[in-house]
């Protein structure tokens, strides 16, 4: 884990301020699933993805917190629409990179997982009902990091939406795999130590029999 983290940190374009693409690369190296994607820098010529569409194009910058609110996210794009979306993003965010990803189809609810530092107890992790309504639904469970599979499983069972993991409307979601994802998150939070500030993985969706992280944000403290 530490070797992966150290190497990853040296690769960041801005020290200690990873963008979404970089966070997802880290998650991928830790064995978590993220969509196929390429990052196109502000000065680069528009690349053509090697994967097939439909595509997602979004502004990719550690400075922009609410991409959707600023019209920084374009979904469900064919090849021509992708070119237009890239143009629009270039105009709106001339200083920023763009992340082009393969659009992912999924079943069931959007979930959220994350991490934070509690002032009294230290590093903690969360799982809950995700998506843009997550703070309204407020259906979340917390535990301290690190934790084991059984404890992560109990977090999921504590949620109001737990019945969707028990075959609700024929859904075949795998809670054990989601529990393993939470455990990975808790290990990451723990391994980052004093560098860690906040982590959001939202949404996380069940796509082709695996949990896929569609958006990720990681805030670090600069530690000398």
């Amino acid at each position: 884990m530490n070797t992966i983290l150290d190497r990853w940190r040296t690769e960041l374009s801005v020290p200690d301020r990873p963008d979404e693409y970089e966070v997802k690369r880290l998650l991928s190296r830790l064995g978590l699933n993220v969509p196929l994607g390429i990052r196109i820098g502000p000065a680069e010529i528009d690349g053509v993805p090697e994967f097939s569409g439909p595509f997602v194009a979004k502004v990719c910058s550690p400075d922009i917190v609410h991409k959707t609110d600023l019209h920084g996210v374009h979904l469900n794009l064919g090849p021509e629409e992708l070119a237009m979306a890239l143009g629009a993003l270039r105009d709106a965010f001339p200083e920023s990179a763009i992340l082009v990803e393969q659009m992912v189809s999924f079943d069931g609810p959007e979930m959220i997982a994350g991490g934070l530092i509690d002032p009294g107890f230290g590093p903690a992790v969360m799982v809950g009902a995700g998506g843009i309504l997550t703070e309204i639904a407020h259906d979340v469970a917390f535990r301290l990091a690190p934790l084991d599979d059984a404890e992560a499983r109990r977090m999921i069972e504590e949620l109001k939406i737990w019945p969707v993991f028990e075959g609700y409307r024929g859904l075949q979601l795998d809670p054990a795999a989601l529990a393993r994802l939470i455990v990975s998150v808790s290990r990451l939070v723990d391994a980052l130590g004093p560098r860690f500030d906040q982590l959001d993985l939202n949404p996380i969706v069940w796509s082709h029999a695996r949990w896929m992280i569609l958006d990720a944000k990681l805030l670090l403290h600069a530690v000398m």
Partner: protein, 469 residues
């Protein structure tokens, strides 16, 4: 290097106690405390600069003149004087000081400086300090009581299994009053005060190991060493329940937070999650703290969530069923489905017209014995995990003998039996009589059902702890 730490046993069972600031003056705190200590039958040594005797006990003008072998010194002076007295007691090698005086960290920077001096004394000498700003201790079993304000001490005098550790004196004594109304078994009360030295960790360890303690209840506004408290609590929770009322939100809400995770944690949800993870049961107010500790200290864990309700009044049976089926505290309960033979046994023991499905309504014609025989049937029904028994004394055929009738079932029942009673202005009196007979009772349907949830929560915690490596 940390000096040797004396065993807390001497604090809770002292042979000799000095009271600095003891006084003959009517209404002085030092005087009240001294008077309260007289029934403890310990050796008492008042310290007063001028008086030769305090309430008939020979007084000492200076701490230095006290004899050897004193276990505890109570400091009931002003803040400045208490610091000087604390140092003199430490030099005298008195192992435990209870500093009642306020005027320390809680009042501002000048007070905080005085408190830092106490801290320094505790670290330099082999003396441990409880407080300052502490009500001290109340150990009913030892007749030891330093609390100088009204706190239902007579009703709590028989002792019991709960160690009650509180950071706030006021919440502590009010909770004691509340608990004493309905009967409560107390092993020890500890007022932590400002926690300049001894804190919740010390008492968690001590009462966690104490064979007479069956349940630990904490009121805390801050937890000094968060992780360590949790980790040590997990050493205790497999053996006895640990309850915490953690007041005050964490600072997480106030910090600049730019993630969903951080904002969702704002309302101290992390504390609740962490408590669950380490087997601690969280409660949200003083009534919950008292009710939960009362039932967890006295009753066996529930095997499951299925509740049977026995009542002489249909309306209360229906209310209980509604509370049971409502999803509260994330701890679901369900109405037990009674076995056909249970229904038959109850009908044979009562009336052909009694409603013998759950809730079992014996009607207002029932007598004491019918309650007893119906309880026997419910206790022996494998489909029942918890029994809630409504005990009303107004029906004509019911006598005070109902208390003994129910109490006789408690030691025989492997499943928890909770009583709900109300009887106009006599409610608390009857609840205390139940308590003295070993029966856990509450004065409302909702509190009785909530008590069942605390028991089911405890069962779940034990199951989760077993899964852990």
């Amino acid at each position: 290097m940390t000096p040797n730490r004396p065993d807390l046993k001497r604090l809770f069972n002292p042979k000799a106690i000095a009271v600095i600031g003891a006084s003959n003056r009517e209404g002085s705190i030092g005087g009240i405390i001294f008077e309260r200590l007289i029934p403890s039958l310990r050796k008492l040594y008042p310290v007063h600069p001028r008086e030769s005797h305090i309430m008939g006990y020979a007084a000492f003008t200076e701490i230095a003149m006290l004899p050897e072998g004193i276990d505890v010194a109570l400091l009931a002076t002003g803040a400045e004087a208490a610091v000087a007295a604390a140092e003199a007691c430490a030099v005298k090698k008195i192992p435990f000081l209870i500093i009642v005086a306020g005027g320390f960290g809680e009042t501002g920077t000048a007070g905080a400086r005085l408190e830092a001096r106490l801290q320094e004394i505790a670290s330099r000498f082999e003396t441990r300090i409880l407080g300052p700003n502490s009500l001290g201790v109340f150990i009913p079993g030892e007749r030891l009581d330093t609390i100088f304000v009204e706190h239902g001490d007579k009703a709590l005098g028989n002792g019991g299994g709960v160690a009650f550790i509180t950071q706030s004196g006021s919440v502590g004594v009010e909770a004691l009053g509340l608990a004493s109304n309905t009967g409560y078994g107390m092993r020890a009360f500890v007022g932590l005060g400002n926690k300049c030295d001894l804190d919740e960790l010390d008492f968690l360890d001590y009462f966690g190991r104490d064979p007479e303690t069956t349940c630990l209840a904490f009121y805390l506004e801050s937890i000094a060493h968060g992780r360590r408290f949790l980790e040590r609590a997990r050493q205790v929770t497999p053996h006895k329940p640990v309850l915490v009322l953690k007041a005050g939100r964490t600072a997480a809400g106030a910090r600049a937070v730019s993630s969903h995770t951080g904002r969702l944690a704002g309302m101290d949800a992390v504390v609740s999650g962490a408590f669950r993870q380490y087997g601690i049961q969280r409660v949200l107010d003083d009534e919950e703290l008292c009710d939960a500790s009362k039932c967890l200290a006295m009753l066996p864990p529930a095997r499951g969530p299925r509740v049977a309700v026995l009542t002489p009044a249909g309306g209360f049976g229906v209310m209980a069923a509604d509370y049971i089926e409502a999803d509260q505290r994330g701890m679901p309960l369900s109405m037990a489905v009674l076995a056909p033979c249970t229904v038959r046994r109850i009908r044979d023991a009562t009336f052909p017209f009694a409603a013998c499905e759950n809730p079992v309504d014996l009607t207002a014609s029932a007598d004491d014995g019918m309650f007893g025989r119906s309880l026997d049937a419910l206790i022996e029904d494998d489909g029942v995990d918890i029994i809630i028994c409504t005990a009303f004394f107004a029906p004509p055929a019911i006598s005070d003998g109902l208390i003994a009738e129910i109490a006789a079932r408690v030691p025989r029942s492997p499943k928890p039996l909770i009583t709900f009673t109300q009887y106009g202005p006599f409610t608390d009196l009857y609840l205390r009589r139940f308590h003295d007979a070993g029966v856990v009772g509450f004065p409302s349907v909702s509190r009785a059902v909530r008590a069942a949830r605390f028991l089911v929560e405890r069962t779940r915690i034990l199951a989760a702890l077993k899964e852990q490596p």
